[in-house]
Symmetry: C2
Subunit: 338 residues, 2 copies
């Protein structure tokens, strides 16, 4: 099957290059472990915050080792960063390497004598110059960011004694991209259909939870709002029942993003409710997609990667094809100082 | 000035009764301190989560003593509640005392042998029967909930050594309600005007941060969505610049809720931006309202109370007067099992 606006060759090259970073990433993790740290602080904003979200969420399942995910914009003003010290391991990322809040947050750390490590496109970016050590992540595909973030973090957690199955997981990640190509192909007819049906809707409610809250937020904010100028209401499954539900009517589009972690019963409750009261419920359930040569115990880690492949990449491409609204056009974001 | 749909006498009676709880609340706090606890866990959902939000946020400024605010729905499924133990002090609230998730979360704690303390309307509610010890909070006004929550928590923090100014603050809270009546009167002409202008808008973006994020979320979800069936997009000031901004157009209503904590520069950045690109920006800035006989250092604690008085109470009343949509009608919420 041909995937519209998808360059398979380029994708597979990117995949190879990403997986090819494994040694670098593990070496960095091992050095950082050797140095030692008392807690981990992750700085993201917008899309990067959303991508780090499941990584941090997953780590919190492995152990109660203190790990914090901070919105870099808030980090700059917060006065209660009690845990931030020279013993903190600070991680961040910015593909372009020039996200204003990320750069300022890094400088704030540097001024406190705290090292920062992370990911950026290449050695030329402003972020690269601030990082104590960088891993280069040139590819734009979110699943590659997920893979690298998880690789670094899970290697650290292996070293700390909380993820002994790391090597098996990392070995199996060789098979990730082939799965995500097949999953894209399986999803393609639905992407066509959903984009036709919903891409001109003025408002869409998006519901998700747990490991997939980041993707729910990202698809709402960074794709529909930023790249398609579509109004959205991202809402967590548990919150849905405390206000947002009253908006549901026969013709209200509700996109429910369902994962495989312990939050699933909350999502299922939304599904049962929404099925009864709107004809425009679309459920994106990672369980519907097989992962070949990846152990079931690692599926949860892969769920944000599956959702990013089918929504943030595939469905988005078809929205653009239907609306004619270019994904790369912005009227404000990064267009001038504000 | 007459405030529309506002029963001043009833309000002041409620205020008196609430402040009259001071001794009870302090006694409970002192007993709990004597017993001892290693961390504080607060359970809320929907409106109660939003109301506890600034209380917990404020506590985090006073000290790094571990305090957690949990969404009761998520609390029920989460598998990483490492910190929850018999040494935890668990607090909760539900005015009706029959919020499903709160009751289940309490049962979960009870099954683990953990005591729960909190607030509910009176001794007849299902929650009252589950609480180890309850404080009764019969009044519906959010500022009374805030006052009681802060009273309990700040007394605990005084006892822990983190809020030595407690007595002065609590003494001055006698003056709170008179201030909030005057502030209502000052705001009334604007409430009339804004409700006329915006109450029929199909979609409103609401931006806030820090101590006022709870109120921003509450006004969006519990008022506009639940009670007026109006579409909203609540977004934090820092996130606004990473997607939501692209929606802004001349005629997009943006309500910016501005406080006085360290997050204010993030709000001000939104204000500068939104002023340029929409004619429908409304800024609700707590700085515009004086607090008589309350020290400036306590203003930040009062900011959510000011916003709840002018938005959740006053503006809401005028929305109802303009839309004719009853604030007490629900089509789904608590109408049947789901």
């Amino acid at each position: 099957m041909t995937l519209k606006n998808f360059d398979l060759e380029k994708y597979l090259e990117g995949a190879k290059r990403t997986y090819g970073q494994r040694q670098n990433v593990e070496k960095l993790a091992d050095e950082l472990t050797k140095k030692g740290f008392k807690n981990i602080v992750v700085l993201g904003i917008g899309g990067t915050w959303a991508e780090w979200y499941p990584v941090v969420e997953y780590c919190r399942h492995l152990s109660d080792f203190p790990i914090y995910l901070e919105n870099a914009g808030e980090f700059l003003v917060k006065q209660n960063l009690h845990y931030l010290s020279k013993d903190s391991l600070v991680l961040t990322s910015s593909a372009t390497g020039n996200t204003k809040e990320i750069l300022e947050a890094c400088k704030l750390c540097i001024n406190k004598g705290i090292n920062i490590y992370g990911f950026t496109k290449d050695e030329t970016t402003p972020l690269a110059k601030l990082l104590t050590k960088a891993i280069y992540n040139p590819c734009g595909d979110c699943e590659d960011s997920y893979l690298l973030y998880f690789m670094l973090m899970l290697r650290l957690y292996k070293n700390l004694g909380y993820f002994p199955q790391y090597d098996r997981w990392a070995d199996q990640m060789k098979n990730l991209h082939a799965n995500l190509v097949r999953i894209r192909e399986e999803f393609e007819p639905r992407a066509v259909e959903i984009a036709e049906k919903y891409s001109k809707e003025p408002y869409t409610m998006l519901v998700g939870s747990g490991m997939l809250w980041g993707e729910t937020y990202l698809f709402s904010m960074c794709i529909l709002e930023e790249m398609q100028w579509k109004r959205t209401r991202p809402v967590k499954s548990a919150d849905f029942f405390h206000g947002a539900l009253e908006l549901v009517e026969k013709d209200l589009p509700v996109f429910l993003i369902m994962g495989e972690d312990e939050y699933r019963p909350l999502d299922e409750r939304v599904e049962r409710f929404a099925k009864r009261f709107t004809d425009k419920l679309e459920v994106f359930d990672t369980r519907e997609f097989q992962l070949t040569d990846i152990d079931d115990e690692f599926r949860v880690i892969a769920t944000p990667m599956i959702i990013t492949a089918i929504l943030t990449e595939r469905l988005t491409a078809h929205y653009e094809l239907n609306t004619g609204h270019s994904l790369s056009f912005r009227r404000y974001y990064r267009q001038f100082e504000y």
